[in-house]
Symmetry: C2
Subunit: 153 residues, 2 copies
């Protein structure tokens, strides 16, 4: 088990949780891939070479000494993306994709009820919920430890 979906309503704090947990996982020597859904996004800026090449019909890789970016026409198919990229990392943290079957960490902010989802493995909330384990919203170490423990199983 190395894929975890962090799910919750918008503004529940999913991105912040992920952003804080990642450096802890990195400190423990793990490589991490984060996957995020987006309605739409810009592929670089108009007029730049990478944009021209993408517009011409190719998928594009721009690579430098320290960073490589890849823009493709692949759709938001999580299984497909994990098949290509998942094997390159120790842990994959997915934001959203709540209808997938991967293990889910549910973030609750104001809602008192855990949404009915498949394969919930942990809940993050500042109030008591009927789920174990439950981590407080600022317990980034706790969530990171939980993920590491699950990976090693």
């Amino acid at each position: 088990m190395k894929v975890f979906c962090v799910v919750g309503y918008s503004n529940s704090g999913k991105t912040t949780l992920i952003e804080k947990v990642i450096p802890i996982l990195r400190e423990r020597g793990l490589s991490v891939l984060a996957i995020k859904h987006a309605r739409r996004f810009e592929v670089d800026r108009e007029g730049k070479d990478s944009w021209r090449l993408f517009r011409s019909g190719a998928d594009v890789i721009i690579t430098s000494k320290e960073t490589t970016a890849y823009v493709s026409r692949f759709p938001d198919n999580l299984e497909f993306l994990l098949e290509i990229f998942g094997r390159l990392y120790d842990v994959v943290i997915v934001e959203g994709f709540k209808s997938s079957n991967y293990p889910k960490i549910v973030v609750l902010k104001d809602e008192r009820e855990i949404p009915k989802l498949e394969n919930v493995v942990a809940v993050v909330s500042d109030f008591e919920v009927d789920f174990d384990p439950r981590f407080r919203r600022d317990d980034y170490e706790g969530v990171a430890d939980f993920i590491i423990k699950k990976i090693k199983v």
Copy 2:
């Protein structure tokens, strides 16, 4: 043979050539990956979630219905990139990487001499050169046909 490096001095017209050849390859039913070198580039804009996740130490995928972007800490190692991404496409057109061993299409603008490079397979120039095949700089169909013929070998 499905990887071609388009090489030449800066401003020789490499990107324009690639940009014009790609739609022709696409029309013939081929999927194309373009790889380009860059000194540095921006990973989305500051403050956006994808930037936050990348800065936190993870490599990042942002995916939408029609497009998927992936930003990694991989260096500009052409063999490595081709190993991961090359198999997903019918043709890979690389801009630059003139010291690689892949087949090279040399674009000449003002220079009258073909640079001494390994594995030159075609020259693009508007003047006579001692190389066969040679294509005029606006002969995009010719270059596309040449690539298609080489792929099928």
